[in-house]
């Protein structure tokens, strides 16, 4: 299969190690490939073999600190892993949440005990943590979150109450990092706080949402009704919740962008293969501009999105959370748009074959929409850019 080349193959733009990582992860991904992924979805199982093998090679924990068994790299490396697996047709969605959001938050803000408990497992892939933020009535607007924790005077722990929707992989995660709020003792105002809820916690009720998405990882609703949590379920500092939350959300956006770029590259690769070999009358269809130009356009737009993704990862890894926030939002937006367009054009290139199970592109039509909607919608990003980048009045 063709995997489209890139200006990133230049050593001037990406270090030798990152290019070696791209090649190695790509080779692993292609050995599993799209057929492995679709078979797992069809049979209702997880892509655990790929997860395990990628984990044992250290690819899943590239961004986590070396002292906890991670690779000591950053978001740049982790986004390479996800993008290349996606370009091979077999992305691992939980990379977006487990090492990227939860691993980052725990590494930066967790207590020593929390780091010891979770990071080595996140790094070697033996533990996974899901991430619950979206609520039925608040979306992902962290200021409107109603899931609330209050102190349990009897135990000194917490009682957590609320609802979450569209949480990926709760069933296969050992715990879920839940964004809630607590009452500030001084002002009485609610402020965001992060809680680790282990899957077998009594009262932790999760139900699968039926989705029209071909993905091994399922989506869940969470129902929490005074779920009793130990005192150490609170991540890090009660007063630094918002900072902690944003520290996790930037990696989420960058990884969502990498997910979209990978999928888009996979789709363009399949379409290019087809357009090169599919012959109608005397010439391959790829020789016709009506076929070639839209694919060239898709390729350009994916490259641009990839460049912005790299920029966001670079800023994040350099410690510029604010600068990374703007770039990460733009990367997520650009990558989702480029991916949706690439998949649309790939399916169209194959004509009727684009809708067959054999070619396996049609299911990407829905999958490519995920990046437009999650973790924040395209419109919320446009709001952010209008307000923060352009200084226009707030619309809400």
């Amino acid at each position: 299969m063709t995997t489209t080349g890139s200006t990133f193959d230049s050593a001037l733009l990406e270090t030798e190690e990152r290019r070696a990582l791209r090649k190695a992860v790509g080779a692993l991904g292609r050995r599993y490939g799209r057929d492995y992924f679709t078979a797992a979805v069809r049979e209702g199982r997880q892509t655990d073999e790929l997860w395990q093998e990628a984990a044992s090679l250290g690819y899943l924990g590239v961004n986590l600190p070396e002292e906890y068994g991670g690779g000591g790299g950053g978001l740049a490396e982790l986004s390479i892993v996800l993008e290349e697996l996606g370009a091979a047709g077999c992305p691992l969605l939980l990379l977006v949440v487990s090492p990227a959001i939860c691993g980052t938050v725990l590494a930066r803000f967790g207590t020593d005990a929390q780091r010891q408990r979770w990071l080595p497992g996140l790094a070697d892939g033996s533990l996974r943590i899901a991430f619950g933020i979206t609520e039925p009535d608040a979306g992902s607007n962290s200021h409107r979150i109603t899931t609330t924790a209050r102190r349990d005077p009897a135990t000194g722990g917490w009682l957590l109450t609320g609802r979450k929707v569209f949480v990926s992989g709760v069933d296969i995660a050992d715990a879920t990092l839940i964004v809630g709020r607590t009452e500030d003792a001084r002002t009485g105002k609610l402020k965001p706080c992060l809680f680790l809820v282990e899957r077998d916690t009594p009262g932790f009720d999760f139900r699968q949402i039926d989705m029209e998405l071909s993905a091994p990882e399922k989506q869940f609703q969470l129902f929490l009704d005074d779920v009793a949590l130990p005192a150490d379920a609170l991540v890090g500092d009660e007063d630094a919740g918002l900072l902690q939350l944003f520290a996790g959300l930037n990696p989420e956006r960058v990884m969502t962008a990498a997910f979209s770029v990978g999928m888009g590259r996979y789709a363009v690769g399949r379409a290019v293969d087809y357009a090169r070999t599919r012959q109608v009358w005397s010439a391959p269809i790829g020789g016709h501009q009506a076929i070639a130009h839209p694919l060239a356009q898709a390729h350009i737009e994916l490259e641009l999105a990839r460049l912005m993704t790299q920029k966001a990862a670079y800023l994040y890894d350099a410690g510029d959370d604010m600068g990374a926030g703007e770039a990460a939002n733009m990367a997520k937006y650009a990558a989702a748009e480029a991916c949706a367009k690439a998949v649309d054009q790939a399916v169209h290139t194959l004509g009727g074959n684009g809708l067959t199970a054999e070619y396996g592109l049609a299911s990407l039509l829905t999958a490519s929409r995920v990046g437009r909607i999650a973790p924040v919608s395209r419109e919320m990003i446009l709001n952010f850019v209008s307000h923060h980048s352009l200084g226009l009045p707030k619309s809400y």
Partner: protein
């Protein structure tokens, strides 16, 4: 004492690319991206497994090739080899198997060795004779085309699968083995391996370092010469046998005509 393993590897144009000959009828290295020959990855893998099973072993990976051939060494180092030797010299352009084996032999002697491991052939030249030539030049036993290999008690043992029989073969160290593509899939470089590779030593040598006369290598020193090269003709359309009751007979007639049956 440490078991010293030298793996000889080649940097070749990607076999999945559209490969061409250059104007002087040598391999055109510019047209297609290069990489560590896939067949040599098996050699690196077996060397790593031998080293892992040994109490104490050190793997040197060796290549003869242009500047970009460092990529092949880096890949082998990222898979777990300990150090590398790169023989690079402008006079080497166009060297054939005789010259290549000469340079490899001198470099292996320079590095020091108990066991030399190679692949079964290169994916570009595919002559497949360098392992034998190399053993001859080094004056050591050769056990080639192994699909299984192990080292213990000062001996290398292995299985050599032929069409008619499988042989168990062995040789006393120092020795040379070549391994086939049936010896076991090569590992992927781990992230730690990738990060460690850059810090591992790569020794750069040229012909004068090895005491080799430039006249013995290169196009001029080659014992063989490519006279002419032509692209393989495109495959012609196949014959479709349509079964309208006589399909079996027609198929048999086609196969008989082409002497398959």
């Amino acid at each position: 004492m440490s078991l010293r393993i030298v793996v000889a590897v080649k940097y070749v144009p990607d076999a999945t690319g559209d490969r061409h000959f250059a104007d002087d009828l040598t391999t055109d290295r510019d047209a297609v991206d290069g990489l560590l020959s896939e067949l040599d990855e098996y050699a690196v893998e077996q060397a790593l497994q031998i080293a892992e099973a040994a109490d104490d072993a050190e793997i040197t990976v060796l290549t003869v090739g242009p500047a970009d051939a460092k990529d092949a060494l880096r890949k082998a180092l990222s898979m777990g080899a300990d150090k590398a030797v790169h023989v690079e010299d402008d006079a080497l352009h166009g060297t054939d198997v005789m010259g290549t084996s000469l340079v490899l032999a001198k470099a292996i002697e320079h590095a020091g060795f108990d066991l030399v491991v190679t692949g079964m052939a290169s994916t570009d030249g595919t002559a497949g004779v360098v392992p034998a030539l190399l053993a001859e030049r080094l004056g050591i036993p050769q056990v080639t085309l192994l699909s299984e290999v192990a080292v213990s008690g000062g001996k290398v043992t292995g299985r050599r699968d032929g069409d008619a029989a499988s042989e168990q073969v062995e040789a006393s160290l120092p020795a040379l083995v070549s391994v086939t593509d049936q010896s076991g899939e090569a590992r992927y470089p781990s992230f730690k391996g990738i990060m460690a590779a850059k810090k591992k030593p790569v020794e750069a040598l040229d012909l004068s370092d090895l005491g080799i006369d430039a006249a013995d290598v290169g196009l001029a020193g080659a014992w063989t010469a490519v006279q002419e090269a032509a692209a393989r003709p495109a495959r012609s359309a196949g014959t479709i046998v349509k079964d309208e009751g006589e399909g079996g007979k027609q198929l048999a007639a086609f196969l008989a005509e082409h002497k398959f049956i």
